[in-house]
């Protein structure tokens, strides 16, 4: 077996030296970390305060909007102060206001005690406001018609002219223009084809400001409507808050625990993530394997190899080497996923998680599921089986083709075939033990993907064991056949063999 290990080692070492391998290895955790950290960082560093101007021709909405923005800013300041207090850098400054167990700041008491100075803590820098209103340029009247105002504001909005803020130049981020007749425009469906509130900005991706404007103005319009009809807005608000409770329940769970929570939903969908990982891994590895076989074949290194090792050793060595490349990649991927999830989960207190709603629980729930279910071991097993099955096919294919180009056309068929489990990935979790999922589980090429998808849905034991046995047998069969074809095909020159010939090789 020594030659097989030597071949495996070379295969591993040479692939591990490629830039592509490291890129693939690091890109995945980098993307996950970035997708979690970047929003946090951006929040922390803060985008510079964005300046906007407001023209409220009717005069009824601007004060409300200012009030709303101020409230938003206060909430952000409170949040920042809470984080600062929990950080523990200046614990003595908050003496008496911190919860001794989870270091939560009792904001209500704190603000009551400190009054206007509630943000004055040594070392604490309150976040810069996200939005700040600037006064209108001199030649624009506070009650100008939106179209006029827009025409005059264009140079500022386009960045050709700058605002002057505290003696420094600042760009105008947006203009909010509210027509005087907004109330009439909003009646019924008369708003169609009319502009109504105009939100001008070069940056249409940041929707925080326009949404705030839209929500506030509409709330105010509705409030006025209720009053006009003699309804008490407070009563209406109370009625609108009415909501009949509804709970999803799972009959399979123990009494008292039937409620379907976020964890259950993750349990349902997490396998899909693994199926995707499996798919990407098998696919990437198949490419490496194909390239490697064809390289040896096309430059005839294969002859030297075959004068030193048997075709069987060569095949086993290649499979081992490339499987270990794939396993390394997957281990790093999953490992980094687990590390990130656990790290994120540990930094969140229960009170905070409750405050932030369900999403903050996500890392913790994922960690629990990974720890308590068969997901990871199942993944390892199905990866190995899937890898061996498909690499057998690829090896046989590679050994009969002279160039990568020739192989690619056959590869297309395999890819198309592999698309099916990918497309079913979203469908199967909805009905993991349904007829379609069950039927596909018994089809070896799809067994790893479909069973992986069903793993947390408690599939019947008959399916688990049966499909596993079938898959092992099928994989062994594919490898046996691949060995035969590999032996015959690897030295053949000229045209790829025809199908009939392949069958003869299998029977020989």
């Amino acid at each position: 077996m020594r030659p097989a290990f030597l071949i495996a080692w070379r295969e591993f070492a040479e692939n591990a030296k490629t830039k592509g391998f490291w890129l693939g290895l690091l890109l995945f955790p980098a993307i996950i970390t970035a997708s979690i950290q970047i929003p946090v960082l951006l929040e922390k560093k803060g985008t510079p305060t964005r300046r906007f101007v407001m023209v409220d021709a009717g005069g009824g909405f601007a004060p409300l909007l200012r009030e709303k923005l101020a409230a938003d800013e206060t909430r952000r300041q409170e949040e920042a102060l809470r984080d600062f207090a929990r950080g523990g850098a200046r614990e003595e400054a908050f003496a008496g206001f911190l919860d001794p167990t989870d270091k939560q700041l009792d904001l209500a008491r704190w603000r009551a005690a400190r009054g206007a100075d509630w943000l004055e803590v040594p070392g604490f820098k309150p976040p810069a406001p996200r939005f700040a209103e600037s006064p209108l340029p001199d030649d624009i009247a506070a009650d100008a018609r939106p179209d006029d105002a827009a025409r005059r504001l264009r140079p500022w909005l386009r960045g050709e002219r700058k605002l002057s803020v505290d003696g420094k130049e600042a760009p105008l981020f947006a203009a909010v223009l509210i027509p005087a007749d907004l109330a009439e425009l909003a009646q019924g469906d008369g708003s169609k084809g009319r502009r109504g509130i105009q939100y001008w900005s070069e940056n249409l991706a940041d929707v925080a400001l326009p949404q705030l404007v839209e929500n506030t103005v509409n709330a105010e319009l509705r409030r006025r409507g209720y009053t006009a009809h003699g309804l008490d807005p407070a009563t209406v608000q109370a009625i609108e808050r009415t909501r009949a409770p509804m709970t999803s329940l799972d009959p399979k769970k123990a009494e008292g625990e039937e409620a379907v929570g976020l964890a259950d939903r993750i349990r349902q969908w997490l396998p899909s993530a693994f199926v995707y990982l499996l798919w990407v891994a098998i696919f990437a590895i198949a490419q490496i394997l194909l390239t490697s076989v064809i390289e040896e074949r096309s430059n005839r290194i294969i002859e030297v190899l075959l004068s030193s090792v048997t075709p069987g050793e060569l095949m086993v060595g290649k499979l081992l080497g490339i499987a270990s490349i794939g396993l390394t990649m997957l281990t790093v991927w999953i490992g980094s996923l687990v590390v990130i999830v656990v790290w994120k989960a540990s930094g969140i207190s229960p009170a905070q998680a409750a405050a932030a709603g369900g999403m903050a629980q996500l890392p913790g729930d994922v960690a629990t599921i990974l720890r308590t279910t068969w997901l990871l071991p199942a993944f390892g097993m199905y990866f190995l089986l899937g890898f061996l099955f498909y690499s057998g096919l690829i090896l046989a294919l590679g050994s009969t083709c002279n160039t990568l180009k020739e192989a690619q056309s056959f590869m297309g068929v395999i890819v198309l075939f592999l698309m099916v489990p990918l497309m079913l990935m979203t469908y199967i979790p909805r009905d993991p033990n349904g007829p379609l999922a069950t039927a596909l589980s018994w089809f070896p090429p799809y067994t790893p993907f479909v069973m992986m998808n069903r793993v947390t849905a408690d599939p019947p034991m008959r399916d688990v064991v049966g499909t596993l046995v079938l898959m092992v047998v099928a994989t062994a069969g594919v490898l046996w056949g691949a060995g035969k074809i590999f032996r015959m095909g690897i030295l053949r020159t000229g045209q790829p063999p025809r199908l009939l010939e392949l069958f003869r090789w299998l029977r020989s």
């Binding site: 030659p3 030296k17 005839r300 290194i301």
Partner: protein
């Protein structure tokens, strides 16, 4: 020249109706450089692959280093295939060391050996270069070194000279000569007779899968009648009656080739010329070359080889 290290007995290889190698028998003694000559498509590569057990003969037996299976003794064999290729991304020393370890050498010994060989054959500066950066000739030398790095007793080189410039051809000849000095057995195929002439202790000529000749270069030359080339204005008819002379062949330039009988001495012709008063402008006696032998044996098939 002791007991044969390689013995082929009635080896035949057919692909469907095509016979690549036809009833080939061959015996290569130890410590001998054996040439394997033949035009393209003669079955040289197929024969070598069968010797290596990369492919199996349809019938017949092959014994290599006392074993019926080359795989059993593969650690003692070195092989350079006809089509040359290397892993593009590997360094020169790493490839040599890799193939040596596949043949059973330890990692450290293989690495030391790779550097030693690269230095000895003038490739020291390229040891750390990736093979894709090497010229074709250098790549080929690296591949030969990879084939002999584990110091095999038996080395098979398939067309080792093809694609090499004259300088590198000399280096290749040096490699083969060195192997012989160390008592190794080398079998190499070629269709360039000059290399065979200089290197071979023994040679086999095959064409269309059949062996046409097997023996030493001297024996090969003896298969051809020896000729004396003369130029004269006088009548040479009297030479025809000499017992040593088989035939007189007039040449286009007015000269004549005198074909001698087997074992005859050219001196007799010269004496006869003096005796008959034939004034010679030229009298040249050449040994036939392997090239002549090859052309004679292979006939029309040799044309292709001649022009290469």
């Amino acid at each position: 020249m002791t007991a044969p290290v390689l013995e082929l007995r009635n080896v035949t290889k057919t692909y469907g109706t095509f016979t690549a190698v036809d009833d080939l028998s061959l015996s290569v003694p130890a410590g001998c450089v054996h040439g394997f000559l033949g035009p393209n498509g003669a079955g040289k590569t197929t024969s070598l692959r069968m010797i290596l057990e990369i492919i199996r003969p349809t019938s017949g037996t092959i014994t290599l280093l006392g074993s019926p299976s080359a795989l059993a003794v593969r650690g003692r064999i070195g092989y350079l295939p006809e089509e040359k290729g290397l892993y593009k991304k590997m360094k020169a020393w790493a490839i040599i060391a890799y193939f040596a370890t596949l043949k059973g050498m330890g990692h450290r010994a293989a690495k030391a050996r790779a550097f030693e060989l690269l230095e000895r054959y003038g490739l020291k500066d390229f040891a750390e270069a990736k093979t894709e950066a090497l010229s074709k000739g250098m790549g080929q030398k690296v591949q030969v070194l990879a084939a002999i790095a584990h110091d095999p007793e038996f080395v098979i080189l398939d067309e080792p000279f093809s694609g090499l410039d004259p300088v590198n051809q000399t280096v290749m000849e040096d490699i083969i000569t060195d192997l012989r000095k160390r008592g190794r057995t080398v079998i190499f195929s070629t269709h360039v007779m000059a290399h065979a002439e200089r290197l071979c202790d023994r040679l086999a000529i095959i064409a269309k899968g059949r062996k046409l000749f097997d023996g030493t270069p001297a024996e090969a030359r003896e298969t051809l009648p020896r000729r004396v080339r003369i130029q004269t204005a006088d009548d040479i008819a009297p030479l025809r009656s000499l017992p040593e002379v088989a035939d007189l062949l007039p040449m286009a330039d007015g000269g004549c080739e005198v074909e001698l009988r087997h074992g005859a001495d050219a001196q007799a012709v010269l004496q006869a010329c003096f005796a008959h008063g034939i004034r010679l402008r030229t009298f040249r006696f050449d040994e036939p070359t392997l090239h002549d032998v090859f052309v004679k044996l292979v006939g029309p098939d040799a044309k292709e080889a001649m022009y290469r």
